[in-house]
């Protein structure tokens, strides 16, 4: 039987092309993901091992900077004591924090959250082993800095150039003393690293004479563990020591976890792509079996058993799967390489390393490819086994029966109803439980719809048929009818597209709904023209607030300054210090009772929910304990409606100023005379000292800041689903090629009685468009339903939540589906038009 299978594969090479392509793509996705993850993990492990290579012991201080009673870090004295330990080669004290570098245009270089500043800690030879200088040397004077090579290149800075650097305070100018390369994580994440002289760094980030961490190298032959034991007693209780090996292992573990989840996400999408491929494969084998009806019947007649027939079809599938998987695996390696360079293009630096090919991806690729193909061919194989021997004597083709669709439809309807019920139940119960119901419901609904799709095809396509006949005449009419001729095949083809579009639409509905809600709350609640914050997300310096208050054309300024105080003996209350009189101009404060103006008199304003739970109302006096443990009383002056942008308690900055050593200002909201303009923006930027580390965002920027991530996420999802959609398109190509092949005689007759090539092509094309758009419509419907249901489960957690159906996007999806049809039909349509009429009309 195997020989028959092999012969069959070889005889139907062209017809199996799309199947091979689909399996190949799916397998490439799977093996590419695995190889990529292995390679990446290896590279990161090597890198972290390398960066801890020389480190025997690393000491890290967790001391609070503002804690007056304890030392703020590791002192020079501790450092010297460690250096004196037996077996220690050298000690390097480190102190670091944020440092943003401006390019010559004053813009920040690198990604905001990983712009790091640290100290240059030369050892005995004047060298710091963590940094390799490619040009110049390390900073040793107050006004010198060194920069990592990529950042220097981005700013086009040469040794000797003046460079503006911002730390949390105002901007300062330094002279570039050198350019270096490093294994530092911040640089590898696409950030920048500025090296200061140790004294400058200490002053900036901690206190003179103190370090945050110490790296200890071992003298030749000394044991890391012994050093660790000797170092531990020397440390204050706010510091912790670990061996370099332990730290490298920890880091490797973290990397593994991070990559593990990336791997899972990618494999999930690969799974979707393969699932979609199942429909295509199944269609192909169904047709191959139908074509071979006589042959199979003959084999049955001469004594082949049913099981042998099924096995022969499965063997054929296994063979196809094997070939496709092998090619797919090679393609997957290419994909892994491409992914790595692709990530580099997005400024995600990945350490160099060899391509890692382990046994797992090879086995996974072959296993997945072969099993998926065999699974998809299983039903057609069973159907082949049911062909009776007498069919060999019949001259007629075995016509596709519509009989068994009755059973199929009943099952489909039941499963769909079950799924829909689960989804609705989940949507109404909400929360995590609700989402569980929805997940289960979504699965059943999808399966049910896939079962039902042949039934749906007739009425749905009947609706669009008039649209085809009108502008496209007879081609449109025939295309509409051809599309429903083989409902199973049309259904399977459309299913592939429907699955992809269900996911795409569901995600879009959710994303756009949430995005719109966030955008609405943002625009509703922020009245300010500008929002000022640090690029790294940390606190702004007090000087920034002062500067903005003095800036020209500014009509209202209020900080959003985090304050923690205890109300009486109860829990800490989250509060914000704001500027009275200005806060209601820059943020929407919806006063329920009392007078917001009373903030200026030292009273506090409380959000409604908090007021209710605490039993406060305007006029009440509340005993408080401030951040510095001092006690006092505050009077409630106003109650306002809860808002995402306001803390539960508002208080005048002046009230808390004596109690906060260092104000924690997260944002400053600014309103300017006559609304935002580039002139105003210039004034604000200048007032802030043209600091690259400080972001001045206008209203559009603010909206992007809060809602932008959703669009980015959606685009990533679209990208990942692209593979599934490509396979769905291959499915459409496959189906059309099969249809054209089966209808040769018919097309020949049409050509003979006067249908020209152009219209034959159009007929095939329109059939493809109808099938694609039908699949898209089913997917969009199901996806919107799912999006609605999932949205309902967290609607109460998002203020201003209201379902938004992204009609523009849905429109684009439909148009794209149509284009997919046109594209998919290109090759089959050409074949149909080029058909040899005389061969076609010849009677069998």
């Amino acid at each position: 039987m195997f020989r028959t299978a092999l012969r069959n594969v070889l005889a139907h090479k062209a017809r199996l092309l799309m199947t091979v392509l689909a399996v190949m793509l799916g397998v490439a996705f799977v093996s590419g993901t695995l190889v990529f993850a292995d390679t990446l993990s290896n590279a990161f492990r090597n890198q972290s091992a390398k960066s801890y290579d020389d480190v025997a012991v690393a000491v890290t201080s967790y001391a609070e900077k503002d804690d007056a009673e304890k030392e703020p870090g590791l002192s020079r004295k501790t450092l010297d004591e460690i250096a004196a330990v037996d077996g220690v080669g050298a000690t390097y004290g480190r102190v670091d924090g944020f440092a943003g570098v401006a390019d010559p245009d004053g813009k920040l270089i690198g990604v905001g959250w990983s712009n790091k500043g640290s100290n240059f800690a030369p050892g005995k030879g004047g060298k710091d082993p963590a940094y390799t200088f490619t040009d110049g040397s390390g900073p040793v004077k107050d006004d010198q800095i060194a920069l990592d090579r990529d950042s220097a290149a981005k700013g086009d800075y040469q040794v000797g150039d003046r460079v503006r650097v911002a730390t949390n305070g105002p901007v300062k100018e330094y002279t570039l003393s050198g350019v270096f390369t490093t294994e530092d994580g911040a640089v590898n994440a696409g950030g920048s690293l500025v090296l200061f002289d140790t004294a400058v760094a200490q002053k900036q980030y901690l206190e003179p004479g103190y370090f945050q961490s110490v790296t200890v190298t071992a003298a030749p032959g000394a044991s890391d563990a012994k050093i660790l034991d000797a170092v531990k007693p020397l440390l204050p209780d706010t510091a912790e020591a670990k061996t370099g090996q332990a730290l490298a292992d920890e880091q490797a573990e973290e990397i593994e976890q991070g990559l593990g989840s990336l791997k899972q996400v990618l494999l999930g999408f690969a799974g979707i792509a393969l699932f979609v491929g199942v429909f295509l494969i199944s269609n192909t084998f169904t047709m191959l079996v139908a074509q071979r009806t006589k042959e199979i019947a003959l084999m049955r007649a001469v004594g082949a058993s049913r099981r042998q027939i099924t096995r022969s079809v499965l063997a054929e599938a296994a063979l196809v799967g094997l070939v496709a998987s092998a090619i797919g695996f090679v393609l997957g390696i290419g994909l892994a390489v491409g992914l790595r360079s692709g990530m580099a293009a997005f400024e995600m630096k990945i350490p160099d390393g060899p391509l890692i090919l382990s046994a797992t991806p090879v086995l996974a690729a072959l296993g997945v490819g072969v099993l998926i193909t065999m699974f998809a061919a299983w039903l057609p194989g069973r159907r082949a086994a049911k062909i009776p021997p007498v069919a060999a004597m019949n001259s007629v083709h075995a016509a596709a029966t519509t009989k068994s669709l009755v059973l199929r439809n009943s099952i489909g309807a039941a499963v769909t109803a079950l799924g829909a019920a689960g989804i609705v139940l989940g949507a109404s119960s909400g929360g995590d439980d609700g989402r569980m119901y929805i997940a289960a419901g979504a699965f059943f609904a999808l399966v049910g719809v896939i079962i039902l799709i042949p039934l749906l095809s007739r009425p749905v396509i009947a609706i669009v048929r008039p649209l085809l006949v009108g502008p496209f005449g007879v081609s449109g009419k025939l295309a509409g009818q051809n599309a429903v001729r083989n409902p199973r095949r049309t259904g399977a083809t459309a299913s592939a597209l429907a699955i992809g579009l269900t996911l795409v639409t569901g995600l879009s509905v959710l994303g756009v709904t949430v995005g719109t809600a966030i955008d609405k709350t943002t625009t509703d609640n922020i009245k300010a023209d500008y929002m000022v914050s640090m690029a790294n997300g940390r606190d702004l310096d007090q000087s920034a607030l002062t500067a903005l208050e003095k800036a020209e054309g500014v009509s209202a300024v209020s900080p959003q300054q985090s304050v923690y105080f205890q109300a009486g003996d109860e829990d800490f209350v989250s509060a914000s210090a704001v500027t009275p009189g200005d806060v209601e101009q820059v943020l929407n404060v919806d006063v329920v009772s009392g007078d917001i103006g009373s903030l200026a008199k030292g009273k506090i304003a409380v959000a409604e929910k908090t007021a209710r739970s605490k039993g406060w109302k305007p006029g009440d006096t509340v005993p408080v304990t401030f951040n510095d443990e001092k006690k006092g009383t505050l009077e409630v002056g106003a109650v306002f409606k809860d808002s995402e942008f306001l803390s539960p308690v508002l208080v005048d900055t002046k009230v808390v100023k004596p109690h906060e050593a260092r104000p924690s200002i997260q944002q400053i909201f600014v309103k300017v005379d006559g609304g935002q303009s580039s002139a105003h923006e210039k004034v604000l930027t200048d007032a802030l000292g043209d600091n690259p580390a400080i972001k001045v965002m206008d209203r559009q920027d603010i909206r992007d800041e809060f809602g932008g991530i959703i669009n980015t996420l959606l685009n990533i999802m679209y990208g990942l689903l692209a593979m599934a959609l490509i396979i769905a398109v291959l499915g459409v190509v496959n189906t059309l090629a099969m249809s054209v092949f089966e209808r040769q005689q018919e097309i020949g007759m049409l050509r003979a009685i006067g249908l020209d090539r152009r219209r034959v092509k159009r007929m095939v094309r329109l059939e493809a468009v109808v099938i694609s758009v039908f699949g898209a419509m089913v997917g969009i419907g199901l996806g919107s339903f799912l999006g609605w249901a999932i949205g309902e489960t967290f609607a109460d957690q998002i203020p201003g939540y209201a379902l938004v159906l992204p009609w523009d996007r849905i429109g684009i999806f439909l148009v794209l589906a149509g284009l997919v049809g046109v594209l998919a039909a290109m090759w089959p349509a050409r074949n149909a038009a080029r058909l040899n009429m005389l061969n076609a009309i010849k009677a069998e």
Binding site: G473, V474, K477, L478, Q481, N482, R485, Q745, E746, G748, M749, L750, R751, A752, I753, G754, L755, D756, R757, R758, R759, M837, L838, I841, A843, E844
Partner: protein, 256 residues
């Protein structure tokens, strides 16, 4: 000789082939399917083309009907010379001026009988002449079957639909390729009867390829082909005379 009678009957010519040759392949493997064939098909005449297998009878029909290209010579349908036409114009010519009846796979399974009959007009974007359509449908006796799909019709009924389709667009000439080849003798006789009536009563021109002497007997004239050449022609044939003539060719073919 028959050449004299050809001239006698010279009326308007619906289709004419002059020195028509069709050669497949080159050099050693060259096969001459048609060898300088000249033949006229006159209006309102029912012509049968006969000949043994491989005589070129189907090729001749295909070339004259604009379904196939030819190597040399000329073919005219009415005033139109086919040799110079590109596919697009050939298609248009077939659509507007020619009707076809094939042996099998004649109808589109997705269309009803009526839709199949009006298909050429649909393709051309023309409205069918209602009166004419009705009379054609009545003639072939399909009035009560118009809403049926081909799968619900018998072979004979399907072929009657095909005849109606060929007649409905009032083509200048109808070509039939073994139109009764797949039918039982009663259904075949019906179809041939319709074709003959369309010639006699409606003035239609019909050219039919057949190997069946009984079918040929319905024609006004039989043209005999052998080895790509016209070897004989006969007017007012009967099944017996045609059969005799065929036997003569067979004998000649065997001896030569």
């Amino acid at each position: 000789m028959t050449t004299a009678s050809l001239a006698d009957r010279a009326t308007t010519v619906a289709a004419r082939a002059t020195d028509l040759s069709k050669i497949y392949g080159q050099g050693e493997t060259q096969v001459v399917a048609l060898d300088r064939v000249s033949v006229d098909f006159r209006q309102a005449e029912f012509t049968a083309i006969m000949g043994p297998s491989g005589s070129g009878k189907s090729t001749l029909m295909h070339c004259v009907a604009g379904l196939d290209t030819f190597s040399s010579g000329s073919v005219r349908i009415g005033d139109t010379e086919l040799g110079s036409l590109k596919d697009k114009h050939l298609t248009k010519l077939r659509r507007d001026k020619i009707g076809f009846i094939f042996q099998a796979f004649n109808l589109l399974p997705t269309l009803t009988a009526l839709e199949n009959i009006t298909l050429p007009m649909d393709i051309a974007g023309r409205k069918p002449d209602k009166q004419w359509l009705d009379s054609v449908i009545t003639m072939v006796g399909l009035a009560d079957r118009l809403g049926h799909r081909p799968s619900q019709l018998s072979g004979g009924q399907q072929q009657r639909v095909a005849v109606a389709r060929a007649l409905a667009s009032k083509p200048e000439i109808i070509f039939g390729d073994e139109p009764t080849g797949n039918l039982d003798s009663r259904s075949g006789a019906e179809v041939l009867g319709f074709l003959r009536n369309s010639v006699r009563e409606l003035g239609q021109t019909v050219v039919m390829v057949t190997h069946d002497p009984v079918a040929a007997a319905y024609a006004d004239r039989v043209v005999f082909l052998a080895d790509g050449r016209i070897v004989d022609e006969m007017y007012r044939p009967t099944a017996e005379t045609v059969l005799d003539r065929m036997k003569a060719f067979d004998a000649k073919g065997r001896t030569s």
